[in-house]
């Protein structure tokens, strides 16, 4: 029997095969480090008198705590400043390469690896951050770990782990204009729920995935964790190779040829069998948005806020009731009638060049809605530079948006960029948990296109609502279609099996 992509990468990294229920010892090729989940790990090394095994497979950056304004001034919050300073001291003491605030390679850790060419197909990548799944877009096995595991990797460059089960997410068909990678993954999560992927590594497959850019694939793999999966992967192909080639740390010369030969062996064999499989028809998808307080509580933007009574499962019903109370929403309200206070374009999900360009194309020459605050935060200093070279900063500022420095920003309430209690935000980030963007803040997860359209109209809006710019698909008549998640024609032959395992 053939092997899946995930099994191939896993098998090629087993240092010691686990026997009698013991985990495999897995080698880690790339360890990404940031300020939040590392200080206690460095401390652990110090206390045990251990050295760091492979500083040459490790790189650090500052992202979660960093301000996105006045980055040349000292960080105001003393605890944030202390955490950043601690990372700098630890990097110096242990010999870890670091890209600090102000450095042109600084940025959200999940943008730094790919743009430096450190993230490659067929490697294992870990980081003390659940969105490490982003790097799976290259065909890498990439997953988030806790601080104890961060220390473990620092000391041994390995992790003891049981192999993940495999789930194929087949996405066939052509996306309609205005529908993006973000809408695919939000629809997937709405279908399988926040825990449906627990124990699995996803492999995103099918024509819709193949036709996405690497950046779009990163958006999808990034949010695998929101469906409970440890990792998400896409088989490397010509799109991947073209993206990687000539990046600073990508293999060169004979190494490139050897790598390419290996990478071409990685796609899942035709006779390989996945532990579970679901399918989704990309051509049926519409711009998607979340209405609740977990990423699985989403619906097509043309729909309505659901009635909790419509959920058959009592825990889902209770969760929906609680979510609507927190979100201050009434059942039956049209999603497009929901006004927002803030639009946030940023995060490791959607702050790459493609995302910023797509948003800029929607808003170019227009003005933002009155009273709506719009902040645009490039994911890395390099993205910021590239966007400025393309004149995008001007497009955003002319529109009335704020153009910020790189970092995690308003994705999580850890730096100065936060929602005030009760504020409502259309956000291109990845989590709509209670208080995620600031205590009492209310989050609707959206694509960069929906964020841009919402910034223009002031209420949750699809690019299809902006007829003048021609972004509506030819067959779209402008009438809102009330398609719910349940009607997306998602086929799920393995659902029974999943249910049994839970």
């Amino acid at each position: 029997m053939g092997k899946t992509l995930a099994e191939k990468v896993w098998d090629d990294h087993v240092v010691v095969k686990g026997e009698d229920g013991a985990p495999d010892l897995l080698y880690i090729d790339l360890h990404l480090v940031h300020e939040v989940t590392s200080p206690q790990a460095f401390d652990g090394l110090r206390q045990a008198g251990r050295r760091m095994r492979r500083t040459d497979l490790t790189v650090a950056t500052e992202d979660h705590n960093t301000p996105t304004l006045e980055i040349d001034k000292p960080i105001q919050d003393p605890t944030s400043r202390k955490q950043i300073e601690t990372l700098r001291q630890n990097a110096a003491e242990f010999g870890v390469r670091i890209h600090s605030l102000g450095d042109k390679e600084q940025g959200i850790v999940h943008l730094v690896g790919p743009q430096l060419g450190l993230t490659l197909p067929g490697i294992t990548v870990v980081c003390g951050d659940s969105h490490t799944s982003t790097h799976g877009a290259f065909g890498a096995m990439a997953f988030g770990i806790g601080t104890s595991e961060v220390e473990h990797v620092m000391a041994t460059q390995t992790l003891p782990l049981k192999p993940f089960k495999t789930m194929a997410i087949n996405v066939e068909g052509e996306l309609r204009p205005g529908v993006t990678a973000k809408d695919i993954i939000l629809a997937v999560i709405a279908k399988i729920g926040t825990g449906g992927g627990a124990g699995y590594v996803f492999e995103y497959r099918g024509s819709a995935i193949r036709s996405l850019s690497i950046e779009g694939r990163m958006t999808i793999c990034n949010m695998s964790i929101e469906a409970g999966a440890r990792a998400g992967m896409v088989a490397p192909d010509e799109t991947t190779f073209a993206y990687v080639k000539d990046k600073p740390h990508a293999p060169k010369g004979a190494d490139w040829d050897a790598a390419l030969k290996y990478w071409k062996t990685l796609p899942t064999d035709d006779d390989a069998v996945f532990d579970a499989e679901i399918s989704i028809d990309a051509s049926e998808l519409e711009p998607f948005v979340t209405w609740g307080t977990n990423p699985g509580q989403g619906a097509s933007l043309s729909g309505e806020v659901p009635d909790p009574e419509s959920f058959t499962d009592p825990t889902d019903r209770a969760a929906a009731e609680r979510a609507l109370e927190y979100m201050d929403l009434r059942p039956g309200t049209k999603l497009k009638d929901i006004p927002v206070d803030t639009v946030f374009i940023g995060s490791c999900t959607n702050a790459r060049m493609e995302d910023l360009s797509a948003a800029a194309d929607i808003i170019r020459g227009k003005q933002k809605a009155d009273g709506v605050k719009v902040i645009v935060v490039p994911g890395s200093a390099r993205v910021r530079l590239e966007a400025e070279a393309a004149g995008l900063d001007k497009v955003f500022t002319d529109f009335g948006a704020e153009w910020r420095f790189a970092g995690c920003s308003m994705c999580l309430g850890m730096n100065p960029d936060q929602l005030a209690p009760g504020e409502r935000c259309a956000s291109t980030s990845n989590r709509n948990f209670e208080g995620r963007q600031g205590k009492g803040g209310r989050t609707h997860l959206v694509s960069p296109l929906v964020a841009a359209a919402t910034a223009i109209r002031g209420t949750l809006s699809s690019p299809w609502d902006l007829h003048a710019d021609g972004s509506a698909p030819a067959d779209f008549d402008g009438e809102a279609r009330n398609v719910t998640a349940e009607e997306l024609q998602i086929v799920d032959p393995q659902q029974q099996r999943l249910a049994e395992e839970v």
């Binding site: 010892l25 601690t86 390679e105 993230t119 490659l120 490697i123 740390h249 190494d255 050897a258 977990n294």
Partner: protein
């Protein structure tokens, strides 16, 4: 790490599903560089409500947390485990957990056991009928006994063994250092290196 065999304490019923790690401990408390002292941060937002379960006697000092499905989803923050531990939660029982959370708990000596939906409902019912009712979690036999009823829980063999023995993961792995060195000698030369630094374009 302390060896664990049996744990006894009140059933602390957290009757909610999808409790993500942002709820267990909001990001604002992740700025600290220490590994202890997070008890005040646990469920910080919900604890502003005096009616919240952890604000009630006899739950103010911890016990065995019994939760709904998909507890500990989302962010990888190990602070969630530290906060539960610091508050006095010794074990968490529930139908399904976030994978990273469950892994983190195993590394920090917090017992996380998977129970059926029926067991969860039964334990919540026991706590409702008799607040403060005790539960005894036996790791050896993988059972939890409350109100005279025994509930099986699942925990993987390796984590169970490590918790029973109180073993340090890193020390265990370093026993295989020769195999790691061997593996490193076989790694292809195209594998990425972060050092020496290569200058970027543009």
């Amino acid at each position: 790490m302390e060896k664990i065999r049996t744990l006894t304490g009140p059933i602390v019923p957290l009757e909610r599903s999808n409790v993500d790690t942002d709820q267990i401990i909001p990001a604002v408390f992740l700025k600290r560089v220490t590994k202890t002292g997070y008890e005040d941060a646990l469920f910080h937002s919900w604890r502003q409500d005096p009616a919240f379960v952890l604000n009630q006697e006899p739950y103010r000092h911890g016990g065995v947390l019994v939760v709904g499905h998909d507890f500990g989803t989302g962010s990888s923050r190990e602070h969630a485990v530290w906060a539960l531990r610091d508050f006095g939660i010794t074990a968490v029982l529930g139908p399904r957990f976030g994978e990273i959370f469950r892994g983190n708990a195993g590394k920090q000596g917090l017992l996380v056991g998977q129970i059926t939906d029926e067991s969860k409902e039964a334990l919540w019912a026991v706590a409702r009928a008799n607040p403060g009712a005790e539960i005894t979690v036996d790791l050896e036999s993988r059972t939890a006994i409350a109100d005279g009823v025994s509930h099986e829980f699942a925990i993987d063999d390796y984590t169970r063994w490590r918790l029973l023995e109180g073993l340090d993961d890193i020390a265990l792995t370093l026993r295989d250092e020769a195999a790691i060195t061997d593996f490193e000698a076989r790694r292809p030369s195209w594998m990425p290196r972060t050092q020496p630094m290569r200058e970027g374009t543009p």
